[in-house]
Structure formats: structure tokens, C-alpha cells
């Protein structure tokens, strides 16, 4: 099993390295990501959103809907934790291992 995992990891790594060869260099100001879409956020942020912090303007305005999703994720996680962790008050704990009835977390 560990061997398989190792192989899977190495294959993934090789694929990633293979792909990185064609990646733009680190800090390349002419990489596609710097030239398409993002310049507008930088250049127009004051004009369009009146926010000097571009991360804020993108987060809360240009891509504000993602942030709604993000908060929903947190909400989901919160409710999930309540759902999972809330113990029924009078339920008998189902212990698989009766020999070791240590107190649980």
C-alpha cells in the first residue's frame, strides 16, 4: 500500500515537473497571468471601486460572489461540525471495544 502510494506520488511529481518546464519564470512580469485580466484590477481599482487595496477590491467587488461562496463554505463547515459532534443526550455510546472503556474526547 505504501509502495503504491509512493509510486502514485512520484508519478504525480514527475507530471508536475514536466508541466513546470513550460511555466512562466518566477516573477516574470510578462507572464500571461500578469497581462490578461489582472491589469484591470490594478489600473482601474481606484476608478471603479474606490479602494486602494486591490485584493480587497477584487475580493469584495469584482469577484465578490466567490466571497459569498467562501462564507458559505465556512457556514457549511460550522453547521457540519455541530451536526457531527453534537451528541445525543440519552443515547447509549456504541463502543466497539468494550475492554477499554476509557473516557472519550
Amino acid at each position: 500500500m505504501r509502495f503504491l502510494a509512493l509510486i502514485a506520488v512520484i508519478i504525480t511529481g514527475i507530471i508536475l515537473i514536466y508541466g513546470s518546464v513550460d511555466m512562466p519564470d518566477w516573477g516574470d512580469p510578462h507572464s500571461p497571468a500578469s497581462l490578461h485580466v489582472s491589469p484591470r484590477y490594478i489600473e482601474k481599482t481606484m476608478e471603479e471601486t474606490a479602494t486602494p487595496n486591490m485584493v480587497t477590491s477584487v475580493l469584495a467587488d469584482y469577484r465578490g460572489y466567490d466571497t459569498l461562496g467562501e462564507t458559505t463554505v465556512i457556514f457549511t463547515a460550522g453547521i457540519s461540525c455541530i451536526l457531527i459532534l453534537r451528541e445525543r443526550k440519552r443515547r447509549k455510546k456504541r463502543k466497539i471495544n468494550p475492554k477499554n472503556p476509557t473516557n472519550h474526547v
Binding site: M1, V9, W26, D28, P29, A33, M46, I84, K95
Partner: protein, 124 residues
């Protein structure tokens, strides 16, 4: 070749991190170790995204001189979009972590162990 390694070192770092995390996720038997691996994996991805944002000569994506003084040049600020995406992704990851830990607690309550092998044995 050497150039390649130097100029793209950010990718090599993230790939190594990712491999470590990925291995822990699928190779380790302890559930908490799996979760730690998951976090390393996700951190690697964050690193990758953030590194695509950098520009040589760019500064933090916050306009410093107030507005209207001079036209803002895209090249002088680093790309804000990956940061935004990663803010969202971090939240997603934290949430996943939370749910994962909650499930692990539930598993521990039932089996009194976090070792995969033992759980599989008890499950029979």
C-alpha cells in the same frame, strides 16, 4: 538546464511540498497524519498560486500614493487575483480541516483509536 532550475525554483519547492503532503494523505495510516498531509498539500497549492502572482519589480497590490496623482501601471504592482483566490481557498481549506477533525473526533469516540488498520479490524 541550470537556468531552468534557478528561474523556476518556486515550482520545484511547491512540487516537493505537494509530494510530501500527498504521500502523507495516501501513505500514512494514522488519520491525523493524513490530515496533516492534507494541509501540507493545500499549502503547496497556495504557494503555487501565490508564486504565479509575483512580478519582478512589482510591489504589494495596494495603491500607495492616494488617487489621481499619476496613472497606475500594472507592471508596478504584483497580481492581486491569485491572492484573492487563495484567500478563498484558505477558508475552504480551514473548513475542510474543521470538518475532517470533527469526523476524526467522531471516529475516536467510536473506536478509541486513530490507526486505520485497527479501525478496519474493528469494523469487521
Amino acid at each position: 538546464m541550470f537556468d531552468l532550475i534557478i528561474s523556476k525554483y518556486n515550482y520545484w519547492i511547491y512540487i516537493i511540498l505537494m509530494m510530501i503532503g500527498f504521500y502523507a494523505m495516501i501513505g500514512k495510516k494514522n488519520l491525523v497524519k493524513k490530515i496533516i498531509g492534507m494541509n501540507i498539500f493545500q499549502t503547496a497549492i497556495i504557494l503555487f498560486f501565490i508564486s504565479t502572482a509575483s512580478k519582478k519589480g512589482g510591489t504589494l497590490p495596494i495603491i500607495m500614493h492616494g488617487h489621481g496623482a499619476h496613472a497606475v501601471k500594472a507592471a508596478s504592482y504584483i497580481n492581486p487575483l491569485p491572492h484573492v483566490l487563495m484567500l478563498t481557498a484558505i477558508v475552504v481549506m480551514v473548513s475542510t480541516l474543521g470538518v475532517a477533525l470533527a469526523i476524526v473526533i467522531q471516529i475516536y469516540r467510536r473506536y478509541n483509536t486513530l490507526e486505520e488498520n485497527e479501525i478496519l479490524r474493528l469494523n469487521k
